[in-house]
Amino acid sequence: MSDELVFMMGQFAAKFPTDRLYAKNHMWAQPRTVDGVAGFDFGFSAYAVRLLQDVYFLEWSVDAGTPLREKQTLGNIESKKAESELYAPLTGRLTEFNSVLLKDPTPINVDAYGEGRLFHMTGDGSNLLTPEQYQDHLAAAWKIAERTIKGQMND
C-alpha cells in the first residue's frame, strides 16, 4: 500500500491511505471506471471502523441502480458498539453493492480499505476531501464524537 496519514483517536492510531479521497461521512472513495463510466468505490475509513468495532449486520435500504442525493439514507449497520443509519456520500447513482458483506460483514473489520469495500457510485465527486482535508475534518469530528459517546454513555 502507498503512503498513509495517521490520526490519533485517543491511544488508537487510525490510518488513512493517501491513494484515495474521503467523504465527510467517514467513507473512503477510490476512483474507478466501470464500463467507461467514471465513479468511486466506497468503504468505511479506519475512523468509522474504530467507532463501530466488530460489524454484525449490514442492510441496504435501496436497490442497486438507484439515483441518490447526498445524505440520503442508504441502509443501516449493527456492530459491537453501535447501530446507525448509513447515508449516501455524494449525489449520483449507486450502481453496485458488495453483496458478499450481507452474508458475512467481517471483511469490513479485517480489510476496510480492500475487501471491505461497500459499494460503487457514479456521480460528482467534487465535494470529496483529499486525505489532508479529511485529517482536518477529523480533528473537528473527533471532538464531537468524544462528546457524543460520553454523553450517551451517561444517559
Partner: protein
C-alpha cells in the same frame, strides 16, 4: 397427552454473538422438553414462498409456537400471507415496548375488518418476539406454559370478550416429568434445520385484523404490489415488485394495517412503540444524518425519481422560515415607533 407442539425458531440476519447464542440456548433447552418438536428456519421474512423453509412451515399440521426477531404481529401476518393460518395465541412473554394498548382496541369503532369475514383453521399460532428478553429461560418457560395450556380445554365466550378465549390454568401441582424416576433417559430429538440461502427480501405484510379493505394502498402504490383475491379482498399479490426500503404505503394506510417487519421505525415494523437497540450508541449524527427538513426533502425526491420525475431538492415548497420578529411575538409600541422611523424617507 395431546399431539406434539411444534416450536419454530427463526434465525436472525445479524451475526451478533449475543443473538446467535440466544437462539442456540433456546433450541438446546427445547430439545430436552417432552411434547415439543423443534424446527429451525432462516429469517422468516426472507423465506421465499416456494422455498424449502416455507414449505417446511406449511407442512406443520397443528398448533405451533414461532420465535423470531420480528414483532409478533409481523410474524403472525407474514405466516398468514404464506397460507400458514390459525388463531393468534395469547402470549404472556411480551416485548415491554410492545405492550398492547387495550383501551385503544376496546375503543375501536364498528368498522368491518377483513379478518371477520375470513375462515381460519382451528389451530393456534403463538408468536414470540426474540427481542423481548436477553436470555433463553423466559422463552423456554413460555413454551412450557403454552405446551401445558394446550392440553387444557379452552372455552370460547364468543363475542362477549371480543373473541378472547378464557383459559383455565393447568393444575399447578402437576408433577414435572423430569423429577420422577423414569425408565429411560430423555434422548433429545434432533431439530429440523433448514439452511439459509442468504437472500434478503422487502415487501409489505397486511394485518387483516386491522385492514378494512379500503383500497388506499392499491391506489397509492405505483409498482403493482397489491391486488385483490376472488372476493375482492386486498392482498399483497406481487411482493417482490416492492421498492426496497420504501414504506410509503404503510404511511398512507388509515388503519396502520400495513407492516414492514424490517423497517427501522417500530410503528411501521409492527409495534405501537419504540424498542430495539436502546442499549446501543446512535452514531447516525456522526455519519451525517440529515436534519428533519433535509430528511423530508430527500424522501420526497425518492418518490419523485421513482415515478420518473426530476428530484426538486430544496427548491420547491419548503415551509417559510419564521422571521425573528414573528418569533418574538406581537409588536409593541417601541417596535411600532422603530417601524415608523424606518418608513420615514430621510
Amino acid at each position: 397427552m395431546a399431539r406434539k407442539l411444534t416450536v419454530v425458531v427463526s434465525q436472525g440476519q445479524s451475526a451478533n454473538p449475543a443473538k446467535r447464542k440466544l437462539e442456540e440456548d433456546i433450541v438446546a433447552g427445547l430439545l430436552f422438553e417432552r411434547g415439543v418438536e423443534v424446527t429451525v428456519v432462516p429469517h422468516l421474512y426472507d423465506l421465499t414462498p416456494d422455498g424449502t423453509g416455507m414449505l417446511c412451515l406449511q407442512s406443520i399440521p397443528g398448533d405451533m409456537v414461532v420465535l423470531s426477531w420480528l414483532y409478533s404481529r409481523g410474524t403472525f401476518w407474514t405466516l398468514d400471507r404464506n397460507g400458514i393460518r390459525g388463531r393468534e395465541g395469547r402470549v404472556m412473554l411480551i416485548n415491554e415496548a410492545e405492550e398492547e394498548d387495550e383501551d385503544e382496541e376496546a375503543a375501536a369503532d364498528e368498522k368491518q375488518r377483513v379478518l371477520a369475514s375470513r375462515d381460519r383453521p382451528n389451530r393456534t399460532i403463538w408468536c414470540l418476539d426474540l427481542k423481548a428478553r436477553n436470555d433463553a429461560k423466559p422463552f423456554l418457560d413460555e413454551v412450557v406454559r403454552i405446551r401445558d395450556e394446550q392440553t387444557v380445554q379452552t372455552v370460547s365466550l364468543g363475542g362477549l370478550l371480543g373473541g378472547l378465549s378464557i383459559v383455565t390454568p393447568p393444575t399447578p401441582a402437576a408433577p414435572r416429568i423430569e423429577s420422577q424416576p423414569v425408565a429411560a433417559p430423555i434422548v433429545p430429538l434432533q431439530p429440523t434445520i433448514i439452511a439459509d440461502d442468504g437472500a434478503r427480501r422487502w415487501y409489505p405484510v397486511i394485518d387483516y385484523s386491522r385492514c378494512t379493505n379500503c383500497m388506499e394502498c392499491i391506489d397509492f402504490c405505483l409498482f403493482g404490489v397489491y391486488g385483490v383475491d376472488k372476493v375482492d379482498t386486498i392482498l399483497v399479490e406481487q411482493p417482490d415488485n416492492c421498492r426496497k426500503g420504501c414504506p410509503a404505503c404503510s404511511r398512507v394506510c388509515p388503519e396502520n394495517a400495513i407492516i414492514f417487519p424490517q423497517h427501522k421505525t417500530p410503528a411501521i415494523a409492527g409495534s405501537p412503540d419504540g424498542a430495539a437497540g436502546a442499549f446501543k450508541i446512535d452514531l447516525s449524527k456522526l455519519f451525517g444524518a440529515p436534519d428533519a427538513l433535509e430528511q423530508a426533502v430527500l424522501e420526497r425526491d425518492v418518490e419523485l425519481v421513482a415515478v420518473g420525475r426530476d428530484a426538486v431538492g430544496m427548491e420547491i415548497g419548503l415551509p417559510k422560515r419564521q422571521t425573528a420578529a414573528e418569533a418574538v411575538g406581537p409588536k409593541d409600541d417601541l417596535d411600532k415607533l422603530m417601524d415608523s422611523l424606518d418608513d420615514l424617507d430621510l
